[in-house]
Subunit: 341 residues, 2 copies
């Protein structure tokens, strides 16, 4: 028998809450026996959504929370004041050991602040990065950090590289993952002040396989497994990838509908094209974990539909099985001992 | 009769020099009567390339330069020491009034430093930005800055916004171009230190149509005409757009070749698809001008083929006709007078 994986879900977070969140939760418990979910938020609205579906009722518990945190609110203030918000209540379930993981499509800032204030950072971790997988021609790469840690320091980026490496090795099973730093040229002398300071520190790091700089143009070709960047640049890479893929696909579809000849061709290429585009669809890859916390926090896209929510919930099974944050903690302790010797 | 436009071309710059540079130069003079070109670099190699083509010989003058500046060299040192390099010799032709413009596919750093040291900045301009046009679903947007000005200050970004506005109004004919700053959220409170400081300054600017922040995901949809960013982020946006479009197109082509059915369809959709992809092909839009100098400097992609070189040379005709740098100069003088009153 498999271990139960208990996930506290922010049912009120994201553009399509609670509708798509609840739908994704139902799809997840219907697909994976080991999931046990807490849907946190407005009880009446959640129950109304749940009433639409068939599922084993004992798999989903509704936990009431009377407040919501919007994306416009200042995160620190919101987490401190709104004690009965879906984010705070759900994070407390993880803190108290009642849940193994927290999943939300809500405000990135509030999730980041809440994760740090309520669950807490692993001792020795300076900043917890948000690390989504992005599709490439060769599979996926981990983009670390895309979170709210703007204006990072070199020591933060070094920890991002180490945590990203542990993630790719344990979750994706890639041995000696290739780590690269996003830069505007391949040479060590290139870059802004942050990259120039970080580069030699990464080169010295013995526990990662640092391959140097990566130019943004090489990212979609899968030239590195772990792509290190400060959050502002990481966010631009993530969002631009999504936007450009969407825009290009819509232009291609319009183009194919422009003549009778190409319309006929479109019918024939459609199945193969769909398969190709699925590989480049970020929603296939679930959520992004916030690494380096004393518990599992997973952020899904604000515009997530049920599929993305479901995938993120299923991902938690593997995150728990692999104990990603425990492995990060062991690594930090090991490094400390090495430094003391 | 049209005015002659004289362009000094760095025949030795870029991955495909002198072959593709010379080919592009020939194609340009064969297409546009008013172009008069100086091909600067290794005389023997340039003449050997020229010998392959048919063109009016009086349209192209070979100017010998014995040295080359590579992308690995420190730009300031290279420009100071290599007085007989193709970049320095060509820039001097512009400085001396023998040429109207300089075009190069060589080292961005050397072009930027050379442009400033040899041709000089317009008085009052703090930093000259590199401003390429990028394809969007609605046409093109100007991305400013993608150059070597890393670690920019807020006042630089404000000037980039003003210069970009003048460019889009005069070169593209867009009235009141929409100016936006690249950010990681739409709200004014979002962003890194640089963006937070720059945002209120842009809001106060009366000579631009500032529409606020733009998230990277909205860039390909053409949500702004002038996209302001510091150079590191701008470079990431430019390079990632190129890389992702290339990767996606190659994945789509492979996908279409995967089954017999889709292969047949591919034949039918090909013409329409080609038309669509052409719109997203950055090489169609020629080079990127370095704005704010006392002369016209245009950078083309290091990997440029003849088509991109030809387009950049033809672009110089319009740049000269519109007097883009003169308009920037007038604007700076006008602002100074306004501030004195």
């Amino acid at each position: 028998m498999q271990d139960t994986v208990r996930v506290a879900v922010d049912a009120m977070g994201g553009d399509n809450a609670p509708l798509e969140i609840v739908k994704g939760a139902v799809e997840a418990v219907n697909e994976r026996e080991e999931l046990q979910l807490f849907l946190v938020g407005n009880e009446g609205r959640i129950e109304a959504e749940l009433a639409k579906y068939q599922f084993k009722r004992e798999k989903i518990t509704v936990v009431p929370a009377s407040e919501e945190i919007s994306c416009d609110e200042a995160p620190v203030m919101a987490i401190r004041k709104k004690k009965d918000s879906s984010i705070v209540v759900a994070l407390n379930l993880v803190k108290e050991g009642k849940a193994d993981a927290f999943v939300s499509a809500g405000s990135s800032g509030a999730i980041l602040v809440g994760g740090q204030l309520i669950i807490g950072r692993i001792k020795g971790i300076e900043r917890p990065p948000l690390a989504p997988l992005i599709p490439t021609l060769k599979g996926v790469s981990l983009l670390i950090d895309c979170g709210a840690n703007v204006d990072a320091r070199p020591s933060h980026l070094v920890q991002f590289a180490q945590m990203g490496s542990i993630y790719m090795e344990n979750i994706l099973g890639i041995s000696k993952p290739r780590v690269a730093i996003v830069n505007i040229g391949a040479e060590e002398a290139k870059g802004n002040a942050l990259v120039k300071e970080t580069y030699p520190l990464l080169k010295e790091c013995k526990d990662i396989n640092f391959i140097g700089s990566i130019e943004a143009r090489d990212i979609p070709y899968g030239m590195a497994d772990v792509i290190v960047s400060e959050a502002f640049v990481g966010n631009v890479i993530l969002k631009l990838s999504e936007g450009l893929a969407g825009a290009l696909v819509s232009a291609i579809k319009d183009g194919m509908m422009s003549t009778t000849r190409s319309k006929m061709g479109a019918l024939l290429v459609k199945p193969a094209l769909k398969e190709t585009l699925k590989k480049f669809d970020a929603t296939e890859y679930g959520g992004a974990p916030l690494l380096g916390l004393n518990g599992l926090v997973v952020k899904v896209h604000g515009s997530s539909k049920s599929k993305e929510v479901k995938n993120a919930l299923i991902q938690c099974i593997q995150f728990k099985a692999e104990g990603i944050n425990d492995k990060i903690k062991e690594n930090i302790i090991k490094k400390k001992e090495e430094n003391m010797n």
